[in-house]
C-alpha cells in the first residue's frame, strides 16, 4: 500500500528562483489496484513517483510505502518497490542475466534463491533466448523485458511505473501494459504515471489528475465521468486542468 501525505517538492533554479514541482499531494493506492497519475508534461508526475521510490527526498510531507516512511527508512522502502521508467536504462556491458542478478543481489537475495527467481522470471517472460547476450546488443523489446525482470527479481509488493511506454513501439508498449495488469492480478500495489488517456482508461482502477504539482481531482473513471458529465477522459482532463492553466497563463 502507498499513502502519500502532503507530499511536496521544491527546487532551486538559478534563473527562475524557487520552483514548486509537487505541492501538498496526498492520495492512497491499495494492493491489487492500479492508481493512474494523469498529467501533462512537467505536471509533477515524475517528481512524485521519484519521491515515492526514494530517489528524491521530499521537502515537505511524506509517504508510507508498505509500512515504511520514505523519509525515515528509504532503503527499506526501496527493498519493497519495483521502479520502472523509460529513464531507467540497462548496464550495456552486462548480459541480461548478469543485469537482473546484480539487482537481485543488491536486494539481498541469497545465491540459491536468486538462481531460482531468475530462472522463473526468464522463463515466464520468454527471455532465455537472449539471457547471455549483452544489453547493448538487445532490441528495444528485449531491453524492456530485461527492465521488467529487474523490477520483479526481488518480488516487490509495490510497483511504480513512470511513463513506462513513452517512446516505445506498440508491441513493446503492449508487453508493458500486460505486465502492469499482471502485477495487479498478483495483488501488488501499482502506481502508474502517463499522459496517454487510452492507457489510463484501459488500466487504472483509480485516477488522479495532476497539474502544476497539485493533485486536482481523484476517483475511479466512473466517478470522474459522473462528476464532469463527460464520457471521454480527455474531455474530463481538459475540464479539470483548464482553470489552473488559464490562471497560470494570466500570471
Amino acid at each position: 500500500m502507498i499513502e502519500a501525505r502532503g507530499l511536496s517538492k521544491r527546487f532551486q533554479d538559478k534563473k527562475r528562483g524557487e520552483i514548486s514541482a509537487v505541492d501538498n499531494v496526498s492520495f492512497t493506492c491499495q494492493p491489487g489496484k492500479i492508481y493512474g497519475l494523469l498529467g501533462a508534461n512537467g505536471a509533477g508526475k515524475t517528481t512524485t513517483l521519484r519521491m515515492l521510490a526514494t530517489i528524491l527526498e521530499p521537502t515537505g510531507g511524506t509517504a508510507i510505502v508498505c509500512g515504511h516512511d520514505i523519509v525515515e527508512q528509504p532503503e527499506k522502502v526501496r527493498a519493497n518497490v519495483g521502479f520502472l521508467s523509460t529513464a531507467t536504462a540497462l548496464y550495456r556491458r552486462l548480459t541480461a542475466q548478469e543485469f537482473v542478478e546484480y539487482f537481485g543481489r543488491l536486494n539481498g537475495l541469497d545465491e540459491a534463491t536468486l538462481k531460482k527467481r531468475v530462472d522463473d522470471i526468464f522463463k515466464r517472460l520468454d527471455m532465455n533466448g537472449f539471457r547471455d547476450r549483452r544489453c547493448d546488443k538487445l532490441s528495444t523489446g528485449m531491453m524492456q523485458k530485461t527492465s521488467i525482470a529487474r523490477t520483479l527479481v526481488h518480488d516487490p509488493p509495490v510497483m511504480i511505473f513512470d511513463e513506462p511506454t513513452n517512446g516505445l513501439d506498440i508491441m513493446t508498449a503492449r508487453t508493458i501494459t500486460s505486465f502492469i495488469r499482471e502485477c495487479r492480478n498478483n495483488g501488488k500495489t501499482v502506481i502508474f504515471s502517463t499522459h496517454i488517456m487510452s492507457e489510463v482508461e484501459k488500466l487504472c482502477d483509480n485516477i488522479g489528475i495532476i497539474q502544476s504539482g497539485k493533485l486536482l481531482v481523484e476517483g475511479t473513471l466512473a466517478e470522474l465521468r459522473d462528476k464532469y458529465a463527460e464520457q471521454d477522459l480527455e474531455e474530463i482532463f481538459v475540464k479539470v486542468v483548464t482553470p489552473l492553466f488559464a490562471a497560470e497563463e494570466a500570471n
Binding site: F83, A89, Y91, L94, L106, R134, R150
Partner: protein, 404 residues
Amino acid sequence: MSIRNVGIVYRKELTEAVRDRRTLISTILVPLLLFPVLSVGFGSLAVALVGKAKEETPKVMLRGGEDSPAVVEGLKKLDKIEIVAETPNWKDQIINKEIRAAVEIPAGFQANVAQQRADTVRIFNYEGELKSEFATEKIEKYMKEYRDKVIKERLAAKNLPDTVLKPFDVKQENVAPPEKVSGAAFGGIIGYMVILLCMTGAMYPAMDLTAGEKERGTMETILSSPISRMHLVLGKFFLILTAALGTAALSVLSMGVSFSVLGHYTSQSAGGRAAAAEFLLKLGPKTVISVFLMALPVAVLFSATLMTIALFAKTYKEAQSYLTPMTFVVIIPAIAAMLPGVELTPKLSIIPILNVSLLCKELVAGTYHWNYIAVIFASTCVYAAAALFIAIKMFQRESVLFRS
C-alpha cells in the same frame, strides 16, 4: 556498513570495466606500452640516428691556410673529414647543410705560431645541428692537439717540465653508495611517474562511473535499488582505486622491464640508460613496497577527488573538460619535486603530492626519515579521507545527481 553490498557493486563495476575497451586501453595498454615505446623505441631511434650522424663524412671548407701547409696537411689527413675548396657563398652552404662547417686559418698563422705571436683559428658552424657539431668537434680536437704539441715543444726547448703549466690536478670523488647516487638521479622520476600514472589510471573510470552513468541513464536505475548511497560510492571508489594502483604498478613493471631490456642491448656509449636499468634492477622489494605504501593514500586522494569532480558533469565530455585541467594541478608539484635542490622540509611535508614525490625520491635512494614518513602518510591519509567524505556527501545531493 555492509561489505557485501560494497563488494557486489565493486564486482559489477569490475566486470563492466574489463569489458570496456577504453578502460582497458587507459589502464593496461597505455602503461604497458608507454615505457617500451618511450625508452626502447625512442632510445634506440636516438642511438641509431646519432650513430648514423657520426658515420657520415662531413664536408668542411678550408678558408685561407695557403701559408700554413703543415696545419692544412694535418687537417686533410683527418679521418672522416672531407676538406673542400673555398667558395664565396660558404655561409649559405653551411646554412643549407651542403657543407657542415668551415675552418679559417688566418694569414701567416704558422709563422705567427713559430714567432710566439697570438693568433686565432675560427670554426664556423650551424649551432644545434648534430652533424655540424660533430664536424666542429673533430676540427677543434685537431687544433687543440696541435696547440698542445706546440706548447710541449716550447717547454722542451727551454728545458721546462709540463708541471710549469699544470702545477696540480683537481679531482672529484664520490663517497655516496652507488644506489644513493642513482636514487638521487632517477628517484624523482619514479615518484613522478607513480603519481602521474595513478592519476591517469583513475581518470577514465572516474568519468565512466559517474558522468558516464548519468549519460547512459543508469543512474536512476541504480538509485532505485535498496543499496545505500554510501555503499554505492564505496563500490565505485574501490574500482577507481584499483585502476589507479593497477596503472601505476603496471607502469613501474613496464619501466623496469624496458630499462633492463635496454640495458642488455645498449653499449657503453648509452651509459646513462644502462645505469638506469641497473639501478631499477637493484630496486629491492623493500623500496618498491615503500613507494607503493606511500602511493596508496595518494591514489585514494586522486580516486575520490576525480570521482567527486566528474559527478558534477552531466555527460562524459563535460567530465573530460573538468578533469583535464586537474592533470596540471598534479603535474606541477610532481615536477617541482624533481627540481635539483628541492628537499623535504617540515613545511613541504604537508603539501599534498609534492610531499609524496619528495619522499619517493628519498625512499628510492634508500633514506628513511621516519618522522617525515609518518607526517606525510598521516597528512595524505587525512586529505584522502576528506576527499572520500566529500564524494559520499556529493552522492547524496540531488542537485548534483540530477543536475539539469
